[in-house]
Symmetry: C2
Subunit: 106 residues, 2 copies
């Protein structure tokens, strides 16, 4: 079973869960209240997120709090950084073109 960060964030519900628990840890029931889907479905999403280490659990009595492992989010950022270089360069090129046009008008 493929379990990587990119596959995990492919699902919109999982992205919403990530955003939801980004600032504070939450229990499955509390998370499920925010979606019109069953607790079990959310539980499955949480399992997938846990398996790829995007979230971690913290047991408190019979409640389990899920929190975002922000460190893992950097993996996406790392992959993206190779393209960031490109779009910054292209932006500078566009900037150059624009200033050339500007100078021509003078």
């Amino acid at each position: 079973m493929r379990r990587d960060v990119f596959q995990a964030i492919a699902d919109p519900t999982r992205r919403a869960i990530i955003t939801l628990i980004a600032l504070q840890a939450m229990t499955p029931n509390a998370i499920a209240e925010n979606f019109n889907t069953s607790r079990q479905a959310v539980s499955k999403h949480l399992r997938i997120l846990t398996e790829c280490e995007l979230v971690s659990q913290k047991q408190d009595g019979r409640e389990i709090y899920y929190q975002l492992n922000i460190q893992k989010m950097k993996e996406i950022d790392k992959w993206l950084s190779q393209f960031r270089k490109i779009w910054e360069t292209r932006f500078n090129q566009l900037d150059h073109v624009l200033s050339t046009i500007k100078n021509k008008k003078k």
Copy 2:
């Protein structure tokens, strides 16, 4: 059929295609040579990437060049930016903790 950037980059082959054509446009056959999969399979991936506007086509005779739409990659970056704030804050907090420990040692 769901077609968004996140679903598009979920597949490892598609991520590889994106990286491959990031710097220069390529034809389906040229792209397929880099993978041990059929030309048709690559063609399907390119179709998905085109549908979500991550790549665009440029016809030249009977050849079709596919190029990355770097602008669309920023959408991922945009989503990620909400977490970037968090991990920068956490890093600063860690930094603060570390310097506190450092000062205690003095």
